[in-house]
């Protein structure tokens, strides 16, 4: 535990240092990112060692007196440790990355403030997953929200950033209110703040608390339809912040759901089915909207919604498994979900860092203005390719492993008879569709952004990102491959996390897990062998052959230009057509008419139905309702005095 707090100290001092040294730009960046990175490294070591000796050691507990009568309690168990690993890993790399990324020397104060809140965010995230009573949790949670808000509003000059920040602020506050409510229901029965001793509650109260918690945490995790803030906020923040937010911060929502589930211990199938349904919807809609985006970072943000969906599918299967009393199914579902938490943290942050590199070098976020970057940004492009493969859930990368476990879990629930069947069927088919769409989505990104020819001047002959930016990407890409090929250790960590839920299943099925992961490893190995053989074969075939270069075959068209390339919108057009009911596609292109037609253009965008529905569904009714009440303050003193009399008379009736 000391190590844990030491790491926090380092992280926070890194932030403070930034404010102190703001006069000297580079030293400030260097020292601050160094402190934060080292702090995260310590935290990583701490969580890692905890995991290593998880078997024998019980949960680590630590508590400080707070406001004379209360305590700030911290507790590290498998679940916390698992999330801590993800948090510290990503934050560490983001901190390193930031050194070359934050290059606006003309705005030292803004940069320093950014570092300050960055450190605050990292530290508070760690505290959130370590908190062991309501007060501690909410304190850390709110500080996390506040600091991330300031990171989103990093550049307030752009109107859309301001809107994003506002949306995010409101959503996180409303979410917090729901979490308050959930805790309130728990407290109503227990009367103590500690998570440890949640009293016995009637099932109705349990469901109530869980649903409140699901809404509250879901709005942080970006579960449809509470995700509205997410695709606005993530692009607004600097890329390494987006990486942290999308990679780990939204996962604290998942952590909250899991933790509450473990604490309240409601084992009816209802909640599991709610979670599963939400997961499927978020997954499919998330990736569909991702397909519809033109802004690279917005696309990645929506893809986060999708992956949260996948995670929830896993968790939902786990919960249903618990409800149906099928330990194997439950373990597989939960483990798969947790593992995907780690995996998504890794590859999504990798993708965001890549996007940051592109943004920094070209200054463009619109994909249809990019292209051919792979030739000049080898490292960025290649790592981005790895990330895309991983996010599409393809073997032999880490994205596949988590989904694989969720699949197996789903199948083990899909035996005829019994309530789980339908849910599992939906889950499996949903996963399959999500997988296919994700593939389409990220082939589009790769193809449009990194391959082909540059579509604009700004995208031509750009330089490679700085060393401090390349290193994290390489590490993350490596991590994708390692987990994809040798998942055993990580799966065991996930299982350790699941066991912290106190489901009472002995981790005796570990054998099965190891067997499965072994198969994955073997499958990867087989594929690699085959691939290498083919590679060798290819070498042989190409020995002393004439290999020349020429222009792309234009199918008889002699003068192809980059502007003729397939664009992001045209690539995804037909698929979006299929999903038009849930993703209304708006196109504008003035038709070509006359003998000498003037320039035409094509613009398209996809509506997020949740966002569209928010205004008429929530905002307008509220405004209407309260507008109706405004007349009471009409300025006439006679009636004001009348109110007083009214109040008296009304009250006298109750005496």
């Amino acid at each position: 535990m000391e190590l844990f707090f030491l790491s926090l100290l380092l992280i926070f001092s890194g932030g403070a240092l930034a404010l102190i040294l703001q006069r000297f730009f580079n030293p400030m960046k260097a020292s601050s990112s160094l402190f934060i990175a080292v702090g995260c490294l310590l935290g990583l070591i701490h969580a890692g060692t905890w995991m290593a000796r998880a078997g024998e050691a019980a949960a680590t507990v630590y508590s400080i007196e707070y406001l004379n009568a209360f305590t700030l309690a911290f507790r590290i168990d498998g679940l916390s440790a698992f999330f801590l690993i993800a948090i510290h890993l990503v934050s560490m790399l983001a901190a390193v990355y930031s050194f070359h990324y934050m290059d606006h020397a003309e705005k030292p104060l803004a940069t320093a403030v950014n570092y300050f809140f960055f450190s605050l965010l990292v530290g508070s995230m760690a505290l959130v997953v370590a908190a062991d009573n309501m007060i501690t949790f909410m304190l850390a949670w709110e500080i996390m929200s506040l600091s991330s808000f300031f990171l989103v509003i990093h550049n307030p000059d752009a109107a859309e950033n301001r809107r994003a920040a506002y949306l995010y602020f409101v959503f996180s506050h409303v979410g917090a209110m729901f979490i308050f409510a959930a805790f309130g229901v728990m407290y109503a029965y227990s009367g103590v703040f500690d998570f440890g001793s949640v009293g016995a509650m009637p099932d109705a109260a349990k469901i109530l608390a869980l649903v409140f918690a699901f809404i509250g945490f879901g709005s942080k995790a970006g579960v449809f339809p509470f995700h509205v803030w997410l695709p606005h906020a993530h692009p607004a923040a600097p890329s390494h912040i987006s990486a942290v937010m999308s990679g780990v911060m939204i996962k604290t929502g998942i952590y909250g759901i899991l933790r509450m589930y473990g604490l309240i211990g409601f084992h009816g199938p209802v909640f599991g089915e709610i979670v599963l349904a939400a997961g499927i919807v978020s997954g499919i809609l998330g990736v569909v909207y991702a397909l519809g985006q033109h802004d690279l970072k917005r696309l990645l943000a929506y893809s986060s919604v999708e992956n949260i969906g996948i995670i929830l599918i896993g968790i939902g299967i786990g919960m249903i498994g618990v409800a149906a009393d099928r330990p194997m199914m439950a373990m597989l579902g939960f483990a798969g979900g947790l593992l995907h938490v780690l995996n998504h943290a890794i590859f999504k942050s990798l993708l965001f860092l890549g996007a940051g590199g592109v943004l920094q070098k070209t200054g463009i976020r619109t994909m249809d203005a990019l292209g051919g970057l792979l030739k000049n940004m080898k490292v960025t492009g290649t790592t981005f390719l790895v990330g895309s493969l991983a996010v599409s859930g393809l073997p032999p990368l880490n994205g596949f492993v988590g989904e694989f476990f969720i699949y197996i879990g789903g199948f083990s629930g899909a035996t005829p008879g019994g309530r789980p069947f339908i849910s599992c069927m939906a889950a499996i088919v949903g996963l399959a569709i999500i997988g296919g769409l994700a593939l389409a989505c990220f082939t589009k990104v790769m193809g449009v952004v990194f391959q082909g020819e540059p579509r604009s001047e700004a995208a031509k002959d750009v330089g490679e990102a700085g060393a401090a930016m390349r290193l994290p990407m390489i590490v993350l890409a490596g991590a994708c491959l390692v987990i994809g090929l040798f998942p055993t250790g990580f799966v065991l960590m996930a299982v350790e996390g699941v066991s912290a839920l106190g489901l009472g299943y002995d981790t005796g099925e570990l054998g099965t897990f190891i067997q499965i992961t072994g198969n994955i490893t073997r499958g990867g190995a087989v594929f690699f062998i085959v691939f290498l053989t083919i590679l060798a074969m290819r070498k042989v075939l190409y020995r002393d052959k004439t290999v020349s270069r020429g222009g792309t075959w234009g199918c008889g068209f002699t003068r192809p230009t980059p502007r003729m390339q397939y664009t992001a919108s045209s690539y995804s057009g037909s698929i979006l057509e299929f999903f038009r009911p849930v993703a209304p596609l708006h196109e504008t292109h003035p038709p070509i008419r006359g003998r000498f037609p003037d320039r035409t253009h094509y613009h398209s965008h996809v509506d997020d139905i949740a966002e569209k529905g928010m205004t008429p569904g929530v905002v307008r009714p509220v405004l209407f309702l309260f507008d109706k009440l405004r007349w009471i303050q009409h300025g006439d003193i006679h009636l004001y005095i009348g109110y007083i009399l009214l109040a008296i008379v009304a009250l006298l009736f109750f005496v």
Binding site: H634, G635, I637, H638, I641
Partner: protein, 213 residues
């Protein structure tokens, strides 16, 4: 009706009707002054045996409630010289009817409780309630700022009448403090009235409705 107190209290009830009916401020002020004098005299008749302090204090009350307070308002009008009459929200005849109804209601209502000490004074409680509500009524039914202030004073008189008969009596010093507060309040209101007149050149509160949502 065998008590002398009740006799003067009935006059007070009359004065309420009068004040409801009168459209002219000076007469309204006179009515209020009369009420002030009466309510400050009532304790002489009611309940507790009189100490010397009691007598002195009664005189002081008389001075303030009966003379000083009305005088403040009178000065205020003198200074501002109301030119035209401000139409009330509730007309004068309607007000009179309301006043009658009010008094009846007050008497009926006050039959409900029997309070220790004042059992035998039939009109004490009705008058108190009537004054209270009448003040409220003036506050809500008159657009003329001065009339509203007078309404406030009427209310105060009513409350004093209630208070006059219970343990509060015990501590004159406290009573005196309350009295000073009321006096100061009325003075400040008078000042405000003058300012209103100067800035708006009228005392119609309909003009004071700019601050609203």
């Amino acid at each position: 009706m065998n008590q002398p107190a009740d006799a003067i209290l009935s006059l007070v009830l009359l004065s309420i009707l009068f004040s409801f009916g009168s459209s002219r401020l000076p007469s309204l002020i006179k009515a209020v002054a009369f009420q002030g004098i009466v309510v400050s005299l009532v304790p002489l008749f009611v309940g507790h045996e009189l100490t010397a302090g009691g007598v002195i204090f009664t005189q002081v009350t008389l001075l303030i409630r009966g003379i000083l307070i009305p005088l403040c308002i009178y000065m205020a009008i003198k200074k501002v010289r109301i030119r035209r009459e401000v139409e009330p929200i509730v007309g004068y005849h309607a007000s009179m009817l309301a006043g009658l109804a009010l008094i009846v209601a007050a008497i009926a209502f006050s039959r409900k409780f029997d309070l220790p000490g004042i059992g035998q004074y039939a009109l004490l409680l009705p008058t108190a309630i009537a004054l209270l509500v009448a003040g409220m009524f003036l506050l809500m039914a008159r657009r003329n700022a001065i009339a509203m202030v007078l309404g406030y004073i009427t209310m105060e008189n009513g409350i004093y009448l209630v208070g006059a008969t219970f343990s509060v009596r015990a501590q004159h010093i406290v009573e005196f403090g309350i009295l000073l507060d009321v006096l100061a309040g009325v003075m400040i209101m008078a000042v405000i009235l003058q300012n209103i007149k100067q800035t708006l050149d009228d005392v119609d509160t309909a003009l004071l409705r700019t601050l609203k949502e």
